[in-house]
Symmetry: C2
Subunit: 132 residues, 2 copies
């Protein structure tokens, strides 16, 4: 019997660790929020729930983004690239904070004349985000 | 003697293959063009030349994006994320084609009701791009 219901997920080319890189972009501003990783279960849960679920490579478990902070990512679109080995999520970022440092985006370090400069403000003290 | 001139590159956390994932975003439209990989030499050449140079994992060599097609990426900004293990390039995409399929972006497949749909037009026939 053909697995027609999951054929789309079998088209993803997982790497040797069973993961793909995922770019997450804010659907309103177009800014890049995070770059994370998904395994098959994470992608299935993301599509089923409508909220971003990643694979945490440090904790080795599924990571429902915002599970502690409340800063979940509501998924508008899931895109895949031409090689089928990279995903792009377009999301609405709840709380306008995607980064554990309390910033909107994780990509707040900009290379400027041989130095990484922090160019995005901290919107909320991480102590206030994670010790509510 | 301290290597002050290259200290910024030593802050990048390369993976076990000596690579980092690189997101490349069009600086004008904010659209994601490609997701590729860099090693240390690729990043150095990118910063030195002002054009995107990646590491080709299939050809196992440096890949000056656009070297065949002419569709080079002129770099406006180099960003790094909070974990120092992912990079973001903001670029001007020469020729308005980043994908080898002749599309503006590589992320032209959109998940829609259990199917990957092609939602971006082919701007130029790849045969005309690569067999000039």
């Amino acid at each position: 019997m053909m697995k027609t219901s999951s054929a789309w997920i079998d088209q993803v080319k997982w790497n040797h660790d069973g993961l793909v890189p995922v770019i997450t972009q804010d659907v309103i501003t177009g800014k890049i929020l995070t770059q994370a990783w998904m395994n098959r279960d994470a992608l299935l849960q993301t599509v089923k729930s409508g909220q971003a679920v990643y694979w945490s490579r440090s904790r080795l478990k599924l990571w429902h983004k915002g599970e502690e902070s409340g800063h979940v990512q509501e998924v508008s679109e899931v895109r895949m690239d031409c090689d089928n080995d990279s995903l792009l999520l377009l999301v609405r970022q709840v709380g306008d904070i995607a980064c554990h440092t309390g910033r909107f985006s994780c990509f707040y370090q900009k290379l400027n004349e041989g130095r990484w400069e922090q160019v995005e403000p901290v919107i909320k003290d991480p102590d206030l985000i994670y010790n509510k």
